[in-house]
C-alpha cells in the first residue's frame, strides 16, 4: 500500500513561499518600471524655493524619495490585490495547501516584496540627488545620513508599503467574497475623503494621518503598523477560510 504522508505546516508554507517568489517574478519587474517612472517625476525636485535680486537668482530644490515611496506603496497595494484574484489563489490549490498556509505564504511574500520595495525606494533618494548633480548640473548640499538612520528609513518605508499591501489584500479578498465590493469600496473611499471635512475642526482623516505618519517614537510606530497589518491580514484570512476554490 502507498503510505500516507503527514503534512507539516511550516514545510508547506516554506515551499509555497519559494514557489511564489518564482511564480510572481513579474511583480518585481513591474516594481522596477514603476520606480523608474517615479524617479523621472522626482527629478524636478520636491520642493522649490527661490529668491533673486538684481545680481543673482537663488533656487533651492529639495530632492527626496517621497514620490518613489508613494508609487511603491501603490505598487504594494496592487500586488496584494493581484495575488488574491482567482487564478493566483488557484495556483496554490494545484499543489499541496490549505487556506491557512496559502494566506501565510502570501503574507510572507508581501513582507518580502515590501522590504524590497522599501530598500529600493529609500536608495532611489540618493539616485535622484546624484542624477540632479550629474545631469542637471545642480550643486548638491546633502544632509548626511548615518547608517542607523538609513536603516530606520528603510524599515519605515517597508512598513508603509506593507500597510498598503495589507489594505490591498483585504480589498482583494472582499472582492472575492462578493463582486459588489469592487464598486462599494472605491465609493466608500471617495466618500470618506469628503466626509465631515467642513464641520469638524479635527476630521477623522487628519487623525489617521497623525496616528500613522506623525509619530516620533519608532517603537510606537512599529507597534502601530504591525498591529494594523496583523488585523487586516487576519481579517482577510478569516474571510478566505470559508471560501470554495476552483468552482
Amino acid at each position: 500500500m502507498m503510505s500516507l504522508t503527514s503534512a507539516n505546516m511550516n514545510v508547506v508554507v516554506k515551499r509555497q513561499y519559494l514557489f511564489k517568489l518564482k511564480a510572481n517574478i513579474d511583480a518585481f519587474s513591474s516594481l522596477i518600471g514603476i520606480q523608474v517612472i517615479a524617479l523621472l517625476f522626482s527629478l524636478g525636485g520636491m520642493g522649490m524655493s527661490g529668491s533673486s535680486s538684481s545680481y543673482f537668482t537663488l533656487t533651492v530644490r529639495s530632492y527626496s524619495a517621497d514620490v518613489v515611496l508613494a508609487f511603491t506603496m501603490i505598487w504594494g497595494l496592487v500586488t496584494a490585490i493581484t495575488i488574491t484574484t482567482r487564478p493566483y489563489r488557484n495556483f496554490d490549490f494545484t499543489f499541496v495547501t490549505n487556506r491557512l498556509t496559502s494566506n501565510l505564504s502570501n503574507v510572507l511574500f508581501l513582507v518580502t516584496a515590501s522590504l524590497l520595495g522599501g530598500v529600493t525606494s529609500i536608495l532611489s533618494g540618493y539616485l535622484v540627488r546624484v542624477a540632479g548633480y550629474f545631469f542637471l548640473g545642480h550643486t548638491l548640499y546633502s544632509s548626511e545620513m548615518a547608517v542607523g538612520e538609513l536603516i530606520i528609513g528603510i524599515i519605515a518605508a517597508s512598513l508603509y508599503i506593507l500597510t498598503a499591501s495589507s489594505i490591498g489584500y483585504l480589498f482583494g479578498t472582499l472582492a472575492q467574497v462578493s463582486k459588489a465590493f469592487i464598486i462599494v469600496i472605491p465609493a466608500l473611499l471617495i466618500g470618506f475623503l469628503f466626509l465631515d471635512i467642513s464641520f469638524n475642526p479635527m476630521p477623522i482623516q487628519q487623525e489617521i494621518y497623525q496616528f500613522y505618519f506623525i509619530e516620533s517614537s519608532f517603537i510606537l510606530f512599529l507597534i502601530k503598523i504591525l498591529l494594523t497589518t496583523a488585523i487586516l491580514f487576519g481579517t482577510s484570512s478569516i474571510l478566505f477560510n470559508r471560501m470554495g476554490v476552483r468552482q
Partner: protein, 297 residues
C-alpha cells in the same frame, strides 16, 4: 481500509441541489469510474473530495479526515482536470520541479519520461499548450505525483485517440507498480471499462449504482424479438430501455432476472448489454430519445 466515506452528502447551489443525499464508500487501492451525464454532479463531488469546496450537509471523510481545509488530505491527494492552472511565468520543466517539491512520492524520472514521450518542449509555457496537450500535461503531473488518492476529472478532454490509449496504458502500468486509490470520471466508459474495478453511477446528484464493473456487465440483458412476445415475457418488469425496430420487432433491456432457457423457449434472442450502453440507458431521463424531439415538430 476505506479511503473515502460519504454519508448523506448534499451540496446545494442557490437552493438547487447538485448532490442529493449521496452515501457511498471507496476502498483503498481501487480504480473507481465515476459515471454520469453532463451536470449529474460528478465534478462537484470530486471537488468536495479534494477539499476545494465545502459540502452543504452530510458527512465526508477522506483518509478519515474532513477534506475541506485539511493539509493532510491535500498532501495525500491530487485533483487533475483541464482547468488546472499554473503560473504563466514558469516553464514546463519548472512546473515539474515545483510539483516535485510539494509531493513527497513524486517520481521525476517518470514525469520527464512521459513529457518526453508526449513530445513536450521543457522550455514551453503551460498557457501556450493546446487543449489536448494541456490535458496530457496535467495528467502527467497527476501520475507522477503518485498520491495515495488520485482524482482524475475528465482527464482525457481534448486528447486524440492515440494519446488517450497511451494515457490509459500508462495509468494502468503505474497503478500496478504503485497501487493507489484512483477516482476517474469520464464520458467514455467503453474506453476505460477494462481499466476500472468499480463503477459509481450517479444521476441527478444521487447514487444510482455502485458495483464492480464485472457485475455491471451482467447486470442487464437485451431481449429482441416480436413485440408481443417480448412484452409478454417481461410482463411487470421495468424496461430500462426499449426500441421498436421496424414493424412488430422490439428490443428491450431489462434487469438480468431471466433464465436463458426461458427466453429461448419463447423464441427470443438474448444479448449482453455493454456497460457503457447500460449507463446511457440508466441515466436517460425519459424513455424516448432525441428522435422524439424531431417527431413532435
Amino acid at each position: 481500509m476505506k479511503v473515502i466515506e460519504c454519508t448523506g452528502l448534499t451540496k446545494t447551489y442557490l437552493r438547487k441541489p447538485v448532490l442529493n443525499n449521496l452515501t457511498f464508500s471507496i476502498e483503498e487501492n481501487t480504480i473507481t469510474g465515476l459515471i454520469g451525464r453532463n451536470g449529474a454532479g460528478k465534478t462537484t463531488l470530486l471537488k468536495i473530495l479534494a477539499g476545494f469546496i465545502q459540502e452543504t450537509s452530510g458527512k465526508v471523510r477522506v483518509f478519515d479526515d474532513g477534506p475541506f481545509n485539511s493539509l493532510f488530505v491535500s498532501a495525500n491527494s491530487i485533483f487533475v482536470d483541464d482547468q488546472m492552472i499554473f503560473p504563466p511565468a514558469l516553464q514546463l520543466q519548472e512546473i515539474l520541479e515545483v510539483a516535485g517539491s510539494f509531493y513527497p512520492n513524486w517520481d521525476m524520472k517518470l514525469a520527464k519520461g512521459l513529457a518526453k514521450y508526449f513530445d513536450f518542449d521543457p522550455k514551453n509555457y503551460h498557457n501556450r499548450l493546446s487543449k489536448g496537450k494541456t490535458s496530457t500535461f496535467n495528467s502527467i503531473i497527476g501520475l507522477a505525483a503518485r498520491c495515495p488518492l488520485t482524482i482524475l476529472d475528465e482527464p482525457t478532454t481534448g486528447m486524440d485517440e492515440a494519446v488517450r490509449k497511451d494515457f490509459y496504458r500508462a495509468l494502468l502500468k503505474d497503478y500496478l507498480a504503485h497501487p493507489r486509490t484512483i477516482m476517474i470520471s469520464s464520458h467514455h466508459l467503453n474506453e476505460i471499462e477494462d481499466l476500472l474495478e468499480d463503477v459509481l453511477l450517479i444521476k441527478d446528484g444521487k447514487k444510482h449504482l455502485h458495483l464492480p464493473i464485472s457485475e455491471l456487465k451482467e447486470w442487464a440483458i437485451g431481449i429482441k424479438g416480436p413485440t408481443e412476445k417480448v412484452l409478454e415475457l417481461t410482463n411487470g418488469e421495468e424496461l430500462i430501455y426499449e426500441n421498436r425496430i421496424g414493424a412488430g420487432t422490439m428490443y428491450a433491456v431489462v434487469k438480468n432476472n431471466f433464465a436463458t432457457l426461458e427466453i429461448e423457449k419463447a423464441g427470443l434472442e438474448r444479448t449482453p448489454v455493454r456497460a457503457s450502453d447500460l449507463c446511457v440507458y440508466l441515466t436517460n431521463d425519459s424513455r424516448g430519445g432525441i428522435d422524439d424531439v424531431f417527431n413532435q415538430c
